[in-house]
Homo-oligomer: 707 residues x 2
């Protein structure tokens, strides 16, 4: 099998993913939606979600056109790039948006069908919810690989000059420079989607919760509460579409980062007589094979009536990861020489073996799993830290908050140590390429990981619909079971997301240095150190913007709920219908308005600093990566721990012989923690994962311009 | 005037400070303590504070002996150092502890005498409170300069070899290496004092507050509440002794850092024919003159009856800073040649002028003031951010917390930009020496700054005593006025503390590189980058430890209060006396127990990493500095903003036509924020300032060993 053939197989893997996603989506669509009331609610949610995405994409299209024009202009007449980078950018942005759209679309179909299936049993409900998640997961990886694969073929056809090894290396460099626009498109849409979706969902959630508190006689999750539909829409646009865009950009970023670093091996590999592009194509091939493995893994996700759905999810996800690990050994052995010595920028002379590259992949998988398990320890319902928060709730919300902040900050320790070991380990095995390939290892089975992730919010939404449609309690119990069992697997997925974000950012950082012709970034230079300081500050300010936006939007929502109860006669008594649409509009408008500033900040700061001093930009990347990863872990885990401390108390918890449960003062104190944690874990925290990569991608894209 | 004479004048300035401090302390002691009840309360507080310091110092003496032995052993038989570094370490630790002890001692005398003076008027109360603060401030700078000055003379006598310029430079290098132990001693005691004092004060404060909430019928700040004495002790050991140790180490650290960097100029300055040690002695001379200026400034702190005490404090502090700026121009012109070119390690060839060195001092002063003003904007009672937090309290404690976290994170932006400008500005004027001298500029009038800082808690304590002694309300009003007007000046002081911590850490970082023979720290190397990541993680874990410690200790306190009310008949009715001593013991034991682990973490981690890889230690320093400075700003400002949002509501605030005040639900929500902010702003936040410098000093001290 030669390189050419491999190159053509890659987009085919992407197409396969999309085809299978289409089949599963059709299947989901054929399921019964249940009662009329259920259909009506589901329709409201789906309409709200689509309305939001439409308005979001309309705003973003202006941004995309503007940036595309800038990119085309800046890369005009350059030998090492081309104005076509604007095309890559547009395609990347489009694929990212499309992945979010498809995922959200199927999720809003799957939710009500999951509810309906849960009326008869657990097994079929799992099938529907997981199928919804799988469509999302496969769309993300499918569009990523298809887009990258096709553009790579097109650009190869235009720029490739294989006459000598030197021209080959140079022209592949150009191809990848132009291709990097795809990653930029994906990342910038992802950031806006994550921030916008995160603000939407938490404005609605916090607003709906607090409205119940501020205005007497409006229970928090009552169907009469006008904000409930917005709350459910939020789950879809935030947790589903936002997460899809997030992983799409991680996936694409890690592939591009690895390709850039792999391009440095072309002369060596050509001289060895193997595939000259082996190291460049390896990430694409691993990703393509990962798609097939994800589809295979999805067949194992099943549950018998009365069985534990956790088992099926675990077998599916861990099985896929294990198969992938084994296969990657053969793929790497096939594509890279058993042994080769290469001198690359930054790393210098280094002895590589295909076995050691494989070890880097294994390190990535092991590190992702380890971070996931640590995450679970700090956030799962029955662990020591979460129980500690529950206990501290006895003395009120202040101690609940203090101990939650403590748990979140403390929880940065373990993942940091794992990351450090993974970085040093994969680097000592295979240099910077090793770090990049470790990130890719974590992300190779994104298809099924994302399916498991997205399955959670779908089940959650299904429960909400059951409540609003006033179905019998056993339906809600079943959807709750589905939702709960996904948590462990989702925590592991979060570990992979954080770990891969850190390693991908490092890979992109190295790729940036290589493309910008920077040999070393000496932090003893105060200008570079200032860059580090500035970069480290960005996640703080960015988080603050996101949090303040949630606060403001939630305030608007609370006022609107109050207005409706005051002005709509009969609403309080349940005889009149609430105006859900207005609440949906408020969340939508707020999310769109508030996502712009942080998004622009992320895109413009690296450009400005880069044109001031490219080394300072290097410092900025280091600062934003380090501080962003830590703040993301802190915020996500604090939020998760507060959430589950509340759930722990709701399940009834006994301290010193006294049992506390739902409705007690202790529970009320824990609800405060949960509400504080909401924007941390669902708005600012996850956005930071994207922020660090987006800034690195911006740097990579402008690298040739400031070299 | 020659170098020799100058060298002898330096410790004399220190002795002068101590002598004047002694005079003022005597004066404070001669004031009347008031009623018998007041004397009794004051005595309880003073005893509790002394008991704590005694126990703390007993534990720390073990640590000091152990580290001294290690230092002596590690530096045995080295040409560039000497086991005498252990002596420096012990003297530094002793001076730091003594400064804390003197400050605490006089503060516990001044508090009740301020209360008594406030019974007749504002003017004399200000005099007493400020005199107490001044004793503290002058003890800190006096002991610092006396200790450093005498040791410098002793070590010069032992090691100096002025036979050639080369031997002079080398032998001064040895002198400074040995002297660096003084800074290590100061910093490690400071960290323990800050952490221990911070845990003590907040355990007592949070415990006393919450006990009132958990057990019905115990008002929060009632004299019957057994935790009130511990609360007042806490103000003294945390805010006074802790802050004294903090600024002592900043002060010493910035002097040592500047001396190390100044030593690199010896060959150049000798060749120019000026003072060869001009750049080494400059920080000592500036500090010595700063003492005299601080004493002069203190004469301007006065208030007429009915006048605004803020005016006196401002004239004193800003006047001193202005005089210092002018004098430093002449000092620098006198000690450094008008123009000289030198090639130093890291910076390389660079053209210096005495004028540009002076500009660096001015930049330091300007940056400190700017950060202070920004700090005030984010935390003062009537500003937009604080009003915003007050408004968000309408919808409950959750939104109060979210918006406080937002304000804290957002507030990192401005100070970071100022720091970046200060770093780049002072570096471009005078290289790394410029950064160090900018830090020194901020700290040169520490004497009076600290007086103003310490005056706050003394006034606060005076108010507490007025309450407990059940004096007429106008007494409390006067002490409150005193306390309130110190806030702006204290905010400026905080700006100087944060700014100088960052710049001092950078100076120490540069000094470490110079002594360890590191030319560049390339963060593109993943091992160094791992160091950055590890370092950035430390402030998170360290903060978590401090916060969790406060939570645990507060829990113990709450239980003890409950026990006393259950077991002491008549306590609730006010007929029996509470057992204050037990509460004091609980806070003491908890603080001592909980300070050990974070303290050891700070001291051992850099040693371990340093012996693994000195470059990785360089990365660690960058990470801990950047993340520590940001986390410190975030935590201090969030805590300050919550505190004042609560005070804003207590003063009555109107939103949308509704006025909210003390006792409303809105106020209760704001109290939660205040309580959450307590450990952030008074325990973990300020400890981080020390952490970053301590780790840098540890690195500097082990630098010759790992070079």
């Amino acid at each position: 099998m030669n390189e050419q053939l491999l190159t053509f197989l890659i987009p085919i893997a992407g197409a396969l993913a999309l085809a299978y996603a289409f089949v599963r989506a059709q299947w989901v669509g054929k399921q019964d939606v249940g009662t009329e009331r259920m259909a009506e609610i589901a329709n409201d949610i789906a309409e709200g979600a689509q309305a939001f995405l439409r308005r979001e994409y309309r705003v973003l299209s202006v941004f995309v056109v503007a940036v595309a024009a800038l990119l085309a202009f800046a890369n005009m007449g350059r030998a090492d790039s081309s104005p076509l980078i604007a095309l890559s950018f547009i395609v990347g942005a489009f694929c990212s948006a499309l992945a979010g759209f498809i995922g959200m679309r199927v999720a809003t179909k799957a939710n009500v069908r999951t509810t309906n299936a849960a009326r008869t049993g657990l097994g079929q409900a799992l099938n529907v919810a997981f199928a919804g998640g799988l469509v999302m997961g496969l769309s993300v990886v499918g569009l990523g690989i298809l887009g990258l694969g096709v553009l790579f073929i097109v650009y190869q056809g235009m720029f490739l000059d294989a006459s000598t090894t030197a021209t080959l290396a140079e022209s592949i460099g150009t191809v990848i420079n132009v291709l990097a626009g795809f990653s930029l498109g994906a990342s910038s849409i992802a950031l806006f989607a994550r921030v916008g979706g995160g603000i939407y969902t938490k404005a609605a959630d916090v607003g709906a919760d607090l409205a119940g508190k501020v205005y007497e006689g409006i229970p928090e999750d009552d169907p009469r509460n006008p904000a409930t539909i917005a709350d459910n829409v939020g789950d879809n646009v935030g947790d589903v579409a936002g997460m899809g865009a997030d992983l799409f950009e991680s996936y694409v970023g890690s592939i591009i980062g690895t390709m850039v670093l792999g391009a440095a091996f072309i002369p060596t590999l050509a001289a060895e007589g193997g595939m000259p592009l082996g190291a460049v194509l390896l990430p694409l091939v691993l990703a393509g094979v990962g798609i097939v493995v994800s589809i295979i893994g999805s067949f194992f996700v099943k549950v018998k009536e009365g069985g534990n759905p956790q088992r099926g999810l675990n077998i599916g996800e861990f099985g896929a990861a294990a198969i992938m690990a084994v296969l990657s050994f053969f793929i790497i052995s096939f594509m890279l020489p058993a042994q080769f010595s290469a001198e690359t920028p930054i790393v210098g002379a280094f002895d590589y073996t295909s076995l050691k590259v494989f070890f880097a992949v294994v390190i990535g998988l092991a590190a992702g799993t380890a971070i996931g398990l640590i995450t679970e320890y700090y956030t799962a319902t029955h662990t020591k830290p979460v129980t500690g928060i529950a206990r501290q709730s006895i003395t009120g919300s202040a101690t609940n908050i203090i101990s939650g902040l403590g748990v979140g900050m403390y929880s940065t320790g373990g993942p940091t140590l794992v990351l450090v070991l993974a970085i040093i380990g994969s680097y000592s095995f295979a240099g910077l390429y090793g770090i990049a390939i470790a990130a890719l290892g974590m992300l190779s089975v994104t298809g099924i990981q994302l399916a498991v992730d997205a399955y959670g919010p779908i089940s959650d939404n299904a429960g909400g619909i059951a409540e609003m449609a006033e179905l019998p309690p056993e339906v809600r119990e079943r959807t709750d079971t589905l939702d709960a069992v996904g948590n462990t697997t989702a925590a592991i997925g979060k570990g992979f997301a954080i770990g891969s974000a850190a390693l991908t950012a490092l890979a992109l950082f190295a790729a940036f240095m290589q493309q910008a012709g920077i040999e070393a970034i000496n932090v003893a230079n105060p200008i570079i150190l200032s860059g580090v300081l500035l970069g480290a500050m960005l996640p703080f300010v960015f988080s603050a913007m996101a949090m303040n936006a949630v606060g403001r939007a939630a305030g608007d929502m609370i006022k609107e709920v109050g207005r409706q109860f005051a002005e709509i006669p009969g609403l309080r008594e349940g005889t009149a219908k609430a105006d859900h649409k207005r609440c949906v509009d408020i969340s939508t408008a707020a999310a769109i308005r508030e996502m712009v500033l942080p998004g622009l900040l992320a895109v413009t700061v690296p450009v400005i600093i880069g044109f001031i001093d490219k080394n300072m930009l290097g410092g900025l990347l280091v600062g934003v990566t380090v501080s962003g990863v830590l703040m993301a872990i802190f915020q996500s885990n604090a939020g998760g721990a507060w959430d589950n401390a509340k759930k722990r108390i709701e399940g009834g918890v006994t301290f010193d012989g006294v049992t506390y449960g739902k409705g007690t003062d202790v529970h009320k104190a824990a609800v405060v923690g949960d509400t504080v944690g909401d924007p941390l874990k669902d708005t600012s925290g996850p956005s930071l994962n994207i922020l660090v990569k987006l800034i690195a991608v911006v740097a990579l894209v402008i690298a040739p311009l400031i070299a």
